[in-house]
């Protein structure tokens, strides 16, 4: 079966259930596809052929069953995998093999999902293009000269290149949704605390959220259900039942949104967004109205401060989270020639091990937290965060979900935004408010602009992840999925 890599997770499970294929065949097909095309795409930093086949064999032996058993998956390299190199795409962790699995990886293994390998990303998840990976960028399968989004560009590109049917991403300011949008794939950021952060190498602790990536809404929901749920090892994990996202996605796919209120944010004026993006968004909105949805304009006056607040909070937390990379216990150690002091070695290690964007954010964060500036920067940003949360809460009094384009522009050519950090940061204009609030959001493909995919974002209240899946399913039923040109 040569086209196994074109199947969705649901289709693969059906074939496995019917015993038409084995899990080993499914895994092999994807591993072979990676071997064939990843030279062009560079979605993977590490491929674990042996481990994936061993896991598949256990499924074939009947040791593990379940809705995703035998469906292979790619995992973003910022999530720890026992014995498998985990670098966060940084030189400072080159070759590091974690002695433990992240909670979500444990859950993938328990679900019988062969892990194909670790996907490329912006270093420590800081970026919107994967151009800040220390191991070279990932190329967008839609146009190899363009970025696949970031930070989780490797996971999204692996899906778009049919190297994996499912992938794990992490979303701090849009790192699941924006890559999903620019690669024509689906990516969901669950409610903060809905998925465990244990084993996710921290960038910004109060924002980081692991989540599912796939090519269809139903597959995304199935993966969401497999990884979500309370974890006692993460204090910020929510001890409540996970909303039934799979049922919600299937309900949405039936194409009826009668009585569902969609909010469009008045302050997202479209200024700075590409016309093609706005056009695709508008058409999708009309399609949803045809399915019975009502569109209401709501005001979220503090959303305009989201980007600056984010670029204080995230770097502040990162400056502290990344302090542990000092060459003392693991990872790179530079300059330890026996004469240099400990302090010098720490300094040289960090100088050699971190890339430019990581250094920029550590410096911004260190400054924002320093005595005398804390109130003006970090303290103020936290106040803005509270105001943004209130904006969301007020909006959800009036509407069921908020909708917007996922990102203002389609995949841009390499190098076009690296010289001005602010131009890069604008990619997350629509995705960042959700992270500051902590609610869930999903990006679904909604059309093409000049031949490149556009994403449609649906934001829901905290712990109402099911709501966004219903709307996402409905949109997919109306618009369909998008296939990139053959590699």
């Amino acid at each position: 079966m040569s086209d196994l890599t074109r199947k969705t997770a649901v289709e693969l499970r059906a074939l496995l259930d019917a015993k038409e294929v084995s899990a080993v065949e499914v895994a092999t097909a994807h591993l072979d596809r990676i071997a064939a095309v990843d030279g062009q795409v560079h979605a993977f930093l590490h491929v674990d052929r042996e481990g994936a086949l061993a896991a598949a064999k256990r499924v074939d032996a009947g040791e593990i069953t379940g809705p995703l058993a035998g469906v292979p998956i790619a995992v973003k390299d910022v999530v720890t995998t026992k014995g498998i190199p985990t670098t966060a795409a940084s030189k400072i962790l080159e070759g590091w093999k974690p002695p433990y699995d992240a909670t979500i990886v444990e859950r993938l293994k328990k679900a019988g999902m062969p892990i194909l390998g670790k996907t490329n990303m912006d270093e420590f998840a800081m970026g919107s293009s994967t151009e800040y990976s220390a191991y070279g960028p990932t190329n967008n399968p839609w146009d190899l000269g363009r970025i696949p989004g970031g930070s989780g560009g490797g996971s999204a590109a692996a899906l778009a290149a049919y190297e994996a049917p499912l992938a794990i991403g992490t979303d701090t300011g849009g790192s699941i949704r924006q890559p999903g949008a620019v690669t024509g794939t689906v990516g969901a950021k669950p409610t903060y605390g809905g998925t465990s952060r244990y084993g996710l190498i921290a960038f910004s602790s109060s924002l980081d959220t692991p989540g599912p990536c796939a090519r269809t809404v139903e597959d995304t929901a199935l993966l969401h259900a497999a990884i979500a749920g309370h974890d006692p090892r993460d204090s910020t994990s929510i001890a409540q039942p996970v909303p039934d996202v799979v049922a919600a996605a299937r309900l949405g796919l039936r194409g009826d949104l009668t009585g569902v209120k969609l909010g469009i944010v008045k302050e997202f004026t479209g200024e700075g967004s590409e016309p093609g993006v706005l056009a695709a968004f508008k058409e999708s909105l009309e399609a949803l109205v045809k399915l019975g949805a009502e569109v209401v304009e709501v005001s979220c006056p503090n959303f305009q401060y989201a980007l600056p607040a984010y670029y204080l909070i995230a770097p502040s937390e990162c400056s502290s989270n990344l302090a542990r990379f000092d060459g003392v216990r693991y990872g790179l150690r530079a300059g330890d020639d026996g004469d240099r002091s400990l302090e010098e070695v720490m300094s040289l290690t960090r100088e050699a091990g971190f890339g430019p964007e990581v250094k920029r954010r550590i410096i911004i964060g260190t400054y924002a937290l320093s005595s005398g500036y804390y109130d003006a920067y970090y303290g103020q940003a936290q106040k803005v965060r509270t105001l943004i949360t209130r904006d969301f809460e007020a909006a959800f009094e009036k509407v069921d979900v908020l909708v917007s384009p996922t990102t203002p522009f389609v995949a841009f050519p390499f190098g076009s935004r690296t010289s001005d950090p602010y131009q890069m940061y604008l990619a997350d204009l629509f995705t960042i408010p959700t992270n500051l609030y902590g609610g869930p959001a999903i990006s679904v493909p909604c059309g093409l602009s000049e031949g490149l995919p556009v994403g449609f974002q649906i934001m829901a209240p905290t712990m109402a992840d099911d709501r966004m899946y219903r709307v996402a399913g409905a949109l997919e039923s109306a618009i369909g999925t998008f296939t990139p040109p053959a590699l």
Binding site: Y100, A202, T236, R324, G338, L369
Partner: protein, 499 residues
């Protein structure tokens, strides 16, 4: 460095008034660490009590130990503090190799306990020491610097880090500045630390052993001229015993007075107490202090103790040591000084339990503060670890009271008890140490002694009763000490018609 003439202590106090403040760190005796399930045993092989969390491996996250919060609240309540209804942990950011995350999870402007006090008595007078805050934080690992002459980082060729201690819960107790103590400042400082130690020990939340570092003390000292503003303070670390607390304050008063006399200003700095010389040496300067960039710990949820829980803790607090001491002093009929020596030896509870097991107060005190305290001292262990239980000590004293053992034999029996040979009665039997109470056998020994010492016997017959001592000694020798001396003496005197 030029040496300056130091004034005498009394001289210094005639011109300056000291203000002191104490920061005490107490390592909690929880079974597991503060943020992970690792064990906390003291003295384990290096880096055997570690995991991804306390080694700060990438991706690991902390989870708060409820027992540590409970212990901190208990300490706060015992120090008359208010317990915050809501507070947060904070990150204190600085780079140091024995701190795996390169930040310490601590508390900053939202401590768990605030505004308390401790009363201490010195020379019969009571002093109230204000407590500013009690907060919880994690301990660091330990760094061993190898190859240098001093064991300090300076000059070392390599450094070894043991992370067993990293993440053990630590409670920091900070006093308010204490002015107006005059020449008694060193004594009050010492009395405060002793009282704090007793309070925490009574709560059972830490073994508070200064020599093992489970109670560590930093002493702040400043001097000012009467009527003037408080001076610049120094912080003295490495103060590892009660006696050192007193010495550190005293030496710092003298040193600062010497500088002020010369017109030199005092630098705000960290100094290290020198156990051997009794003075303080400069450490790192606080003038260029690190900016710790505190911010609320995003990996942990706020601490919001249920008021009902706090009240249940308050209701189940043990009797305060000061109250208990007063009660026991009355019961035992002893002086404040005698009570103090029992406290210092860590013997109060042991004596109490021994009395409860049937011993007289005097008997219980005698064994625990005498023979057993001596043994504990020699071995450098706690009295409670000496190998005898209160029940055994009570049983031993009963054998003495019943005349079955004399003092000398009792010590030998105790030796057997401590060596693990069993309870006193069993040791007495096994070692054949009972007092010879068979008068027939004793009479024979007495007659033998009289026959062997006719001169002495004659003197006693003539009324020189005091000479009987020599014959008693002879009898004790033949009975190998297993006779009751008074019984022997009575037998000798009656046989010689001198009673």
């Amino acid at each position: 460095m030029t040496t300056i003439a130091l004034p005498s202590y009394d001289d210094a106090l005639s011109r300056y008034e000291p203000v002191i403040g104490l920061e005490t760190h107490v390592e909690l005796g929880t079974q597991t660490k503060m943020f992970c399930g690792c064990r906390t045993e003291f003295g384990a092989e290096p880096n055997t009590q570690v995991c991804p969390v306390c080694l700060a491996l990438p991706g690991a996250l902390p989870v708060m130990n409820r027992a540590a919060i409970e212990a901190t609240i208990r300490i706060g309540l015992a120090l008359n503090c208010d317990i915050a209804p809501w507070c947060r942990m904070a990150r204190k950011n600085y780079f140091y190799p024995d701190m795996p995350k390169n930040f310490q999870t601590s508390q900053y402007d939202e401590p768990l306990c605030v505004e308390g006090y401790v009363d201490v008595t010195v020379d019969g007078k009571e002093y109230r020491i204000g407590i500013e805050r009690v907060h919880i934080e994690e301990d660091t690992g330990k760094t061993l610097h190898v190859g240098g002459a001093t064991g300090r980082i300076h000059g070392a060729t390599e450094s070894l880090v043991d992370y067993n201690r990293a993440g053990i819960p630590l409670v920091e107790i900070v006093t308010k500045p204490v002015p107006g103590l005059g020449a008694l400042a060193p004594d009050v400082a010492k009395a405060y630390v002793a009282e704090l130690r007793d309070i925490i020990r009574s709560l059972g939340v830490s073994d508070v052993r200064m020599e093992q570092g489970s109670l560590r003390c930093d002493v702040n000292t400043s001097l000012n001229k009467p009527g003037e503003e408080w001076g610049t303070r120094t912080e003295t670390k490495n103060v590892n015993s009660l006696r050192s607390v007193e010495r550190a304050v005293r030496s710092e008063i003298i040193r600062q007075a010497g500088l002020l006399d010369e017109g030199t200003r005092i630098f705000q700095e960290t100094r290290h107490f020198q156990e051997t010389t009794g003075d303080t040496r400069p450490g790192r300067s606080k003038e260029t202090a690190t900016d710790y960039r505190y911010f609320p710990e995003p990996d942990l949820v706020p601490i919001a103790p249920d008021p009902a829980w706090v009240e249940s803790l308050r209701a189940s607090q043990p009797e305060k040591p000061s109250v208990k001491r007063a009660r026991l002093r009355e019961d035992w009929g002893i002086s404040e000084l005698e009570m103090q020596s029992a406290v210092n030896a860590g013997a109060v509870e042991l004596i109490e339990e021994t009395i409860a097991a049937g011993s007289s107060p005097a008997g219980a005190r005698k064994w625990w503060l005498g023979e057993l305290a001596r043994r504990a001292n020699e071995q450098g262990i706690e009295l409670s670890e000496v190998g005898a239980t209160p029940a055994q000590v009570a049983a031993l004293q009963k054998l003495v009271d019943d005349g079955k053992l004399n003092d000398k034999l009792a010590r030998q029996v105790l030796e057997g008890v401590v060596a693990g040979e069993g309870d006193p009665a069993a040791v007495m039997t096994a070692r054949g140490l009972g007092v010879v109470s068979d008068t027939g056998a004793l009479q024979a020994a007495v007659d033998e002694a009289i026959a062997a010492n006719p001169d002495i016997a004659a003197k006693i017959r003539d009324g020189k009763v005091a000479a009987a001592g020599a014959l008693v000694g002879a009898v004790m020798k033949t009975t190998r000490g297993q006779a009751d001396a008074k019984t022997v003496r009575d037998l000798i005197l009656s046989r010689l018609g001198a009673s």
